[in-house]
Amino acid sequence: MIEATQVATSPEVNKITSPAGLDIFRKELDSKLDPNAPLLIVCCGTGCQAAGSSEVVDKFREVLSGIGWGGKVIPLVKPTGCHGFCSRGPLVIIEPQDLFYQRVTVDDVEDIVNKTILNNEVIRKLQYKPANSKEVIPRASDIPYYAKQTRLVLKNIGKVDPTEINDSIVRGSYSALAKVLTRMSPDQVIDEVANSKLRGRGGAGFPTGLKWESCAKQEGTRYVICNADEGDPGAFMDRSLLEGDPHSVLEGMAICAYAVGSNRGYMYVRAEYPLAVKTLTAAIRQAEALGLLGDNIMGTGFDFKVTISTGAGAFICGESSALMASLEGKVGRPRPKYIRSVEKGFRDCPSNLNNVETYANIPDIITNGGDWYKSFGTERSSGTKVFALTGNVYNIGLVEVPMGISLMEIVYGIGGGIPNKRSLKGVQTGGPSGGCIPIPHKIPDINVGYGKLAEAGSIMGSGGMIVMDEDTCMIEVARYFVNFLVEESCGQCTPCREGLIRMREILNRITQGDGKEGDVELLDEIGNFTNNFSLCGLGTSAANPVLSTIRFFRDEYDAHIRDKKCPAGVCKPLFHYDIEAETCTGCGLCKTKCPVKAITGEKKKTHVIDQSLCIKCMECYKNCKFRSVKIM
């Protein structure tokens, strides 16, 4: 009987004392791998864990150990980070066949072992069927959701066990660090990163090479800091990276430290990410034990120590000066300094702050070269970007796409289109600092890149992407983000604080039917003022959701204010439902769905809604197969 725990931890592994030693160690690990050994990959990202994937892992281990294998290789159960398809979780992928099982529960485990592992028989009910299709897609790599992505920065996620460093090393982790430490000068590293044209993935899109170069020019102690505060509502790109592939981020930070001349790093992680903190803590410990981080890395004399700091749980702490203040143990409020943190940041020392995804891109840029990275994406926006696709779209989850991809392709090709026979109204990108892009009606499509998004009144942001169907009220969308910022602004400066309060006040009255002539102009005036006069990046982008909806959906504002109508049927005081006599078949479905018995009508005759009883719950509207329930 051969144990297939190919990459088991051996506690007495010696420190790697030279870059060549890493290569030897990797080859040794690789030689122990059996490419034909069965492998059960279980997604243990936060989403799948919430759906019970840890229990699935335990159950697999229990079932597998209770079977006599008679010379056969025992399959390895590998928990991994988020595969990005959380809406279908818990996910199990069986290698080497690349079989994709979705929504796996503890009760399915015995079946999977007995049928699929032992007898090569697939279980149909666990297989993936795209929306509106009867054909299952058996292999993970054939699923359009994955097949249409370009996974560079996410390449290890869902493949490696993030709790086990050897599993990352065997796939090449730390070899880029070994390369810079032996064969590149700090300047060459910066040149390579600059050549890649990588831009910061945290929001503003500042050229990473340029930032590193300014930091390297400074004197004295320098810090390398990773921004893992990820506060945009619905965003979880950074969490997935930290939970699924911590070593790529750590290696990216170490390479940065070498390039800018630092030996001290901090990872500022959002307090709500306990799994990420746990995974990172273990990853740092394992890397230090092997001599890949800490003192005298790989015997080269280069030291780099990383400390994790958990955030104060505030969105504003993602802003660079607030983050530094919070790291110093002070209140996390932006500081009013007209000086960049690469000159004077953490503890008044030069500090290089980058986003998680930015750092995670670095190792491959070093290994494959800036030219390789630039071959993805567009001239001004190189490489790929990870988006958290959500909203009114079939496939919700993380997607990595080359820059310049068509937004329609993301929504329809990868996202699978709009469910419930609804049509697309727009896509919101950039979170609370972004805007709504009115595809396909007012703008047919756009290529997703920094410049193109800005032209459309939005921003790339950190990767939030919300698909909105025709039932979305744009004033309500603006109100949602303003309400978010009302809570998350630090409140210290007048334009942001008072501007948000007033924008909220006006949007509230518009959605309640009390909007006044001139309200849109006032919103526009306050919005432009807030964007120009605020102290930090939160305030100077706080009005974007308002301004962009005014720009593209002015008619909807007017309908609310002048006609006292919410065309999307969202603002309750501003619409009612009516059943259209011409198309109602009298099927009676609405009647059975109505929770307050507001609908009456005989079979096969037109049904009627009693407006005095209706609570506008949307059930009849959603369920009518003939779309006879209309928003009036």
């Binding site: 409140g491 007048t494 309060i501 006069f533």
Partner: protein
Amino acid sequence: MKVLNIVLNGKAVTAKMGQTILELAREHNVFIPTLCDSPALEAAAMCRLCTVQVIEGKWPKFVTACNFPLRRDAEVVTDSPEVRHGRKLIIELLMARCPTSPELQRLAVDYGCDLERFAPLNDDCVVCGLCTRACEAVTGRTLSLAGRGVAIHVDTAFQKASEYCIGCGACVQICPVNKIAMEDVDGERRIILHGKIASRVKLPQCTSCGKHFGPVIDLQQVMERMGEHKIPPPNASVCPECSRRNLAIKLGKRYFEQYGVFEDEEGQANAG
């Protein structure tokens, strides 16, 4: 020291490296309104009233004059229509908070504010943060900015009457809209914030005249001393009035005793 060439509202002037726009403007008698700035405290740039436009490269950008350090040759416009419009909005928004402040009322006239646009939100504080910064410099911990999001406000720790206050009155004196009060009653000094007692300080009794007294600190002095070392808590046992008189008597004795003028005052002089 490098000298910078600055065009200030169309006039060519020179500035020192690192000098703020506000300092330069004052040197040249260009008035820029401020609310949250004090020369004795580090700038917090919270009110944004001093916003001006500066052109260092191609495009004008909005910056706050109180803390923007000039480091390059630049053009500064302190009163453009865009700037005036933004200030007008700031004043309108703050007047809705604090309509009784004479300072704001004056500015509202200057900027032609429309005070009907925003419904009153009566909070009585414009969150300029001056009191908290002054207090931090004096005691480090009595007043601070608290509250989440736009609900930010000045408060004491846990909203309880603070034990750390030394009753110096710096907060009272520095508030641009006079929203902090100080009362000496029943042998204690009270700092009153938002109509609530924010702190009580037991006032020492003068061993000379028997009256209660508290530290009356001239803001100018507080400001001068801040940044160097903290003001020591009041521990002298004689009230300032008596100290002054006693000192006068002592000096008088030293120089005039020989003329026999002070005989009647002997007892009081000894008590000092």
